[in-house]
Each structure stands twice: as structure tokens, then as C-alpha cells.
């Protein structure tokens, strides 16, 4: 069998097999790159900033795919509806979160968690009265203590019910990242702890990559089987060519 493998005919076949294997490895690599590209494109799509009214239609509950998306909004803070979420600490210091609804140009409201302050009397608590453009991360209503009513200006959790924003409010809230124009003093932005929504995995490209690589193993198997058959058939050569 070994002597047969080094015959001219079988060396040519081995060479062709190696070429096939190299080709298959490249094709698998191409599908692997494609898998990565699709994932990168999907993640970039998620990271892209979208106006909140496009992502979060009025009167509809927030969908899980939009939670964690970067959003922008333009409007005016409604200081009269501002609430403080109590018992929220930042870096180990106890304090409150300042939640001020933002009124968009269409009149709808979206709650904005502007950040952390040590207490309700801290100077940053007063929201700017000018038109602002904000960016932030879209979040779903906090589910715990969701329905508990406000105690004066204190609330236990951020939700449309607890903030009593009414029917003109969009679901969920924006966790503020930036505000233009910048006003000082202001609450300290609280970093996002919620994870970004996951993107669909391109299984098809992933499996194609794996299959191309398996095919290159397959080439080796076929070569060996063929060589074995050739070596054993040549002892009684009648079978070798009668099928063709």
C-alpha cells in the first residue's frame, strides 16, 4: 500500500487532495469571518443611538430587545413631576436617584433618571428649565415595588405607576448619560448595570465554517479508503475498471 501511495498516479491524487484541503480550510475560514462580521454588524446596530420615540412607541409596553439600547431625546424637564427614588447608594454612599420626566415635542413624557445625589436638598436636584438634548440608555420599569404610590416626592422604584405619569408617558425610562447644554450642579450619572440585549447568532455561517473544515478531514478519509481499495483490488484487477 505504501509503495502504491508513492506511485506517480497516487502522488498526483495526494497533491489534488492537499489542494482540496487547502481550499476547504480557506472556505471554512471565509464562513468563520462572515460569522464574525454578522455578529459585529448586529452589535454595531445595537450600539447605534436611536431617538427614543422611534424605539419606544407611546402606549406600547417596552420590548426586551430595546432594553439597554442607546437612545437620545430632546425636550423640556417637567420639574413639577420630579421624584426621588430613596435608598439608592453610589460607591457605598447612601443617597437618592433623581427622576425627572422629560416632555418631548409631541407632548409625551419619558422618565429620565438623571443621576445620584446624597440627599434631596443637594444643589443638583433642580432640573434645568431650558430645552435639553439628552442621551442615555433605555431601561424597563423597575419591577420591584412597582405599584407602590409616592410618599410626597419619594418613590420606592421607577415605574409609570409609582411616578404617576399618566397615559401620555412612554413605558420605561432613560438612564441619563449626557445632557446638552451641560448644567451644573447636576446629579452624578449612575453607570448602567443592565446588560445589553443579546444579538442572534449566525448559526448558518458558523455551521458552514465547521462543515468546510470537516470536509477537509473527509478528503483524507476518502484518499485513504480509495488507496486501500486500490491496493487490495490490484491483487485481482478485474473489478477495477469494469464499472466505468
Amino acid at each position: 500500500m505504501l509503495r502504491l501511495a508513492f506511485s506517480a498516479k497516487w502522488l498526483v491524487r495526494a497533491g489534488l487532495g492537499v489542494l482540496l484541503i487547502i481550499g476547504f480550510i480557506f472556505l471554512g475560514h471565509w464562513q468563520w469571518e462572515r460569522t464574525q462580521d454578522v455578529l459585529a454588524a448586529e452589535r454595531a446596530g445595537l450600539a447605534e443611538q436611536v431617538a427614543v420615540d422611534q424605539l419606544n412607541p407611546l402606549g406600547q409596553p417596552i420590548v426586551s430587545e430595546t432594553v439597554g439600547r442607546a437612545v437620545s431625546a430632546r425636550g423640556q424637564y417637567r420639574s413639577d413631576m420630579q421624584r426621588f427614588v430613596v435608598h439608592r447608594s453610589l460607591n457605598g454612599k447612601s443617597g437618592v436617584w433623581v427622576v425627572t420626566p422629560l416632555q418631548l415635542s409631541d407632548g409625551s413624557l419619558i422618565a429620565v433618571m438623571r443621576g445620584w445625589l446624597p440627599n434631596k436638598q443637594a444643589p443638583g436636584a433642580v432640573a434645568p428649565s431650558v430645552d435639553v438634548e439628552i442621551t442615555g440608555v433605555l431601561q424597563a420599569d423597575e419591577s420591584f415595588y412597582k405599584g407602590s404610590p409616592p410618599d410626597g416626592s419619594n418613590v420606592a422604584a421607577i415605574s409609570r405607576q409609582s411616578l404617576q405619569l399618566g397615559a401620555t408617558a412612554r413605558d420605561g425610562f432613560i438612564r441619563l448619560s449626557t445632557q446638552t447644554p451641560v448644567t451644573t450642579p447636576a446629579p452624578i450619572p449612575v453607570p448602567v448595570v443592565a446588560q445589553q440585549g443579546s444579538v442572534p447568532f449566525p448559526l448558518q455561517n458558523f455551521f458552514y465554517a465547521i462543515q468546510w473544515w470537516i470536509f477537509s478531514l473527509f478528503v483524507i478519509g476518502v484518499y485513504l479508503r480509495w488507496l486501500w481499495l486500490d491496493a487490495h483490488d490490484s491483487s485481482h484487477s478485474s473489478l477495477d475498471d469494469d464499472a466505468n
Partner: protein, 140 residues
């Protein structure tokens, strides 16, 4: 090697070879149909989707460059075809070796699993060939 076998053993050996070919042919037939049906469904669905996309004003190439907005089951069909074709390759090569097919014919049979509706044609071709071989003259 065969000359050492007694006539009875030789008959048994031949019979088992025939049986092995019948088994391999059955495996090949199953995989040719499975691969063919899945590929035909995925391909037909793709044609329908492309037509709907183009009616909606997308370019032909948009269908292939875009990664979203396709039904989940549609993508799943292509994945199933990928793995079915892998099995098709194995049983196809196995049968081609047993029948001592030429490399050209083998490659054509194997490629038939990737071209819509062609695996049915290849399977028919193989079974015609087997029927011809099963005639008494070619077996003796």
C-alpha cells in the same frame, strides 16, 4: 485470494457483497431524498423571498448582503441541508466505492446534493445502474 474459497463460501461472499451494496444503496437513496427535499424546499422558499423582496423595491443582491428579516425556519432549513449534505457525502462516497465508480461519476453524484432537484436525478441514475447490474448476465 478468491481462488482459495470453496465454491460454497464464494457464493456466500458474493451474496454478502450484494447485500452490502443493497444496504449502501438504500442509505444513499434515503439521504438523496432527505437532502433533495430539504434543498428543494429551501431553494423554492429563497426564490419566493427574493421575488417578494424585489417587489418591495430591494435589489437582488440586497437579499444576500442583508443578514436579518428572514424567517427563522428558512435559515434552519439551510442549516439542516448543510448537515444532511454531510451525511449524503458519506453514504454517497461509500456507495461509489462499493460500485467502483469512476472519479468523475462520483464527483457528479456528490455535487448533485448541492444543486436543487439534482440529487433526485442522481439517485435515479444510480438505481437504474443497480437494476442493470442485478440482471443475471452481469452478476455471473
Amino acid at each position: 485470494m478468491r481462488s482459495h474459497l470453496s465454491s460454497q463460501n464464494w457464493r456466500l461472499a458474493k451474496l454478502s457483497t450484494v447485500n452490502k451494496i443493497a444496504g449502501a444503496a438504500l442509505r444513499y437513496r434515503i439521504m438523496a431524498y432527505v437532502t433533495g427535499v430539504v434543498l428543494a424546499s429551501a431553494f423554492t422558499w429563497m426564490v419566493v423571498l427574493i421575488i417578494t423582496w424585489m417587489v418591495d423595491g430591494y435589489a437582488f443582491a440586497d437579499f444576500f448582503s442583508s443578514n436579518d428579516q428572514k424567517p427563522g425556519l428558512y435559515g434552519a432549513l439551510w442549516i439542516v441541508h448543510g448537515w444532511a449534505y454531510f451525511l449524503y457525502l458519506i453514504v454517497g462516497v461509500d456507495l461509489a466505492f462499493r460500485l467502483r465508480y469512476s472519479i468523475g461519476r462520483t464527483v457528479l453524484i456528490l455535487l448533485a446534493g448541492t444543486i436543487p432537484f439534482m440529487s433526485f436525478v442522481a439517485e435515479r441514475n444510480v438505481h437504474k445502474d443497480l437494476a442493470k447490474r442485478a440482471e443475471p448476465t452481469s452478476l455471473s
